[in-house]
């Protein structure tokens, strides 16, 4: 269904609402729906950098399912690396 059709269906109930308002409501709806159903999955890649421990996450990421690292076992393969339970005892901000 295209946006135009979605807006028109909402406006059938609320003809007093402008397009911008309806689009905002549809965005609220989409965000809640995708957050609660965990329906949309994606993968992204970035490169490790020397001495950099933390890599910022895009705000669209709800939850990380798994992480693969190139050569984590010394081979050229992309290997799944485990999630640490908790956080490092010795902290830093690098």
């Amino acid at each position: 269904m295209k946006l135009k059709e979605m807006v028109e269906l909402v406006q059938q109930h609320h003809p007093e609402l402008g397009v911008t308002e309806v689009v905002k409501m549809l965005n609220t709806s989409q965000e809640e729906y995708s957050s609660r159903t965990r329906m949309l999955e994606k993968a992204t890649q970035f490169d490790l950098a020397t001495n950099q421990r933390y890599y910022a996450l895009d705000e669209s990421i709800l939850e990380i399912k798994s992480v693969d690292m190139e050569g984590a076992d010394g081979s050229a393969d992309h290997i799944n690396i485990p999630k640490l339970v908790g956080r490092p005892i010795r902290r830093d901000l690098t």
């Binding site: 295209k2 689009v23 329906m39 970035f46 890599y55 939850e63």
Partner: protein, 139 residues
């Protein structure tokens, strides 16, 4: 020794391994040595190694009409069979502004909740009819 493997980078036996965690809106990646409980950040030898994150994401928002990128033909990333539920939530939000029609807001909220249940079942089947991996949770 349990947990020991050959680390080909250093070409010797090692007991440490790469791990990840999340903190302050970032993902942390370091090599962890369980014996010393020490974490080591990626070194020069790890520079440019590819990291792949697999994740659940929020749906991309529709562009508002005030933007030049606005398009009436845009469509949601959420599969089409669930679009009615998205519309139901928007309708419910509209009725919440009208106290005299609050019952209609409840009706459309319930419809949305039904859609959430169906959506979770759809995500659980992972579109292939197979069971999806469920992450264990400690309580």
């Amino acid at each position: 020794m349990a947990g020991t493997y050959i680390d080909n980078w250093s070409n010797k036996y090692a007991t440490n391994q790469w791990v990840w965690w999340t903190e302050r809106d970032a993902v942390g990646i370091a090599k962890f040595d369980p014996n010393t409980e020490k974490f080591t950040s990626p070194g020069v030898e790890n520079n440019d190694k590819k990291i792949t994150l697999f994740y659940y994401k929020k749906a991309s928002a529709f562009v508002e009409p005030s933007s030049n990128d606005f398009s009436w033909t845009a469509s949601s990333e959420i599969p089409g069979q669930f679009h009615d539920y998205l519309i139901s939530k928007a309708i419910a939000l509209g009725y919440e502004r009208k106290p005299e029609q609050i019952q209609l807001a409840l009706y459309f909220h319930e419809k949305f909740e039904k859609g959430v249940k169906e959506g979770r079942a759809y995500a659980y089947r992972a579109r292939a009819g197979t069971v999806k991996y469920i992450k264990p949770v400690d309580f």
